[in-house]
Symmetry: D2
Subunit: 155 residues, 4 copies
């Protein structure tokens, strides 16, 4: 199982704590954690995964493996900038979004376009034609997010 | 000037009419119209641009130039799937979103992340932390959308 | 018709003269010239195309349209580094290689892998299993290169 | 340490045996093996790595993790076709080419352009301006290839 955790490269301590707990739960269940490899939510999620003995993959936007946060085991060096966001979600069987900014929103949108399930923890809400779209599955805690991701994951 | 027009590959006649009018206005002002090269909003925008004698570029997701709609002058064949969305917005000096689905949302998000202005006609509304984010500049008509795009366009 | 002209970003005056002549011939026949958008062979080919009133497209590796040489009409801003080389050849109906370094070699290889015809002017020679591979069509002059590209171009 | 093993998706039993031995040596030394994730040389190298208890990453061109050979632990699903070749070499600290066709040649060229060391086992020979270019480091056996890759690997 590969699970992507997505979120901003800069985040509050509160958001980082959520991401770290998500990473820990993902690793406890034996899944590989995939992310964008940088700081903030990505680093917190990787740190959590390593605490639980998991394997972490960071799909980096730049050209240097040195850009990876210290908890990335396998840095993938894309050199393709924001277009790497598609690879993060497309490589995952489910995506967990923790808060997030516009980069995260692009990942949510790519995942939903591609039919990959997205679970959200305190993340974007999307409205079109005067109604909220309900394709992001909402979770109230890291544990619930991971449970929902498992239930929805694609094979 | 290069202006991107983004929107869904399948759209209502009403949305197509908006896109066609946007394409026409873009071409009238002498700009090159960039889009994803497929049907729906992309095709309507290209058709409008050609009515006004403009030049159209279609940045295609697949591997065949035959995928381009008949109003694309220059098909760019990326073979990179959804990751081509980044190229559409990154190549533009301003982006005009006409309605749209999740692919369009990914383009809006990429543009805002990259600091490229986005003008919206009846498009997504985005909420984070209980508030609507106001980074998409709203327009009420195709003409207003194009005028706002010109005012905001980057050089 | 879209024809790609590929070659190094730094080149001798002699190689530039070949590239310029190729660009001129491509434009004279009404084709769009596609290239990597930078200097050297790319710039010389675009300059030639503009002398003959042609249209030029530069598929740039970086994130700024300012990277384009002054003879590029339509800059495509990929931000994807060397991976943009695939787009240059994949968008073309035939490829003309003028001398070139390793970047050019990657484009030749991608084109041959994808089944896109490659005409070479003083370019790489490739040996495998003790024999020279003959998939690059050799031309002795810019005019011959363009004639051969036309004869081989895919539709 | 991440080492890329590159080669054709279809190969002779003799070439597969070389690739398998390379994969085994790479894993014995504790490195992660990165490849394009498909059959032929890629599959043989992954099989060798798994025999020695290593970790394998397959950077796939298509949109499905099902495309990965059975010895890939971590499939990266790029959906970007041939452009994924750049990611394979860019993610590695050294590249070992085992024979190979035009796809492999594109990877060799990208690596040399990016300054990533390439060790070759019975692979392409490249001539420019009437001389053979010597940038591919030749090895006579899988063991020698892996030793040379280690000596040259970038940090």
């Amino acid at each position: 199982m590969l699970i992507a955790v997505i979120g901003d490269g800069l985040c509050s301590a509160e958001v980082a704590a959520l991401a770290e707990a998500v990473g820990r739960e993902v690793a406890k269940r034996g899944a590989v954690l995939v992310c964008g490899g940088l700081g903030g939510v990505m680093e917190a999620a990787c740190r959590g995964a390593k605490q639980a003995g998991g394997l972490t993959v960071g799909i980096l936007p730049g050209r240097s493996r040195q850009d990876a946060n210290p908890y990335v085991d396998v840095p993938i060096v894309t050199g393709m900038g924001e277009a790497r966001n598609v690879l993060v979600v497309q490589s995952a069987q489910a995506v967990i979004a923790v808060h997030g900014e516009y980069g995260t929103l692009s990942e949510i949108a790519h995942a939903l376009k591609l039919g990959i399930p997205v679970v959200g923890l305190n993340t974007w809400r999307l409205h079109q034609d005067g109604q909220e779209r309900q394709d992001i599955v909402r979770a109230a805690s890291p544990l619930e997010a991971v449970e929902r991701a498992w239930a929805l994951a694609q094979f």
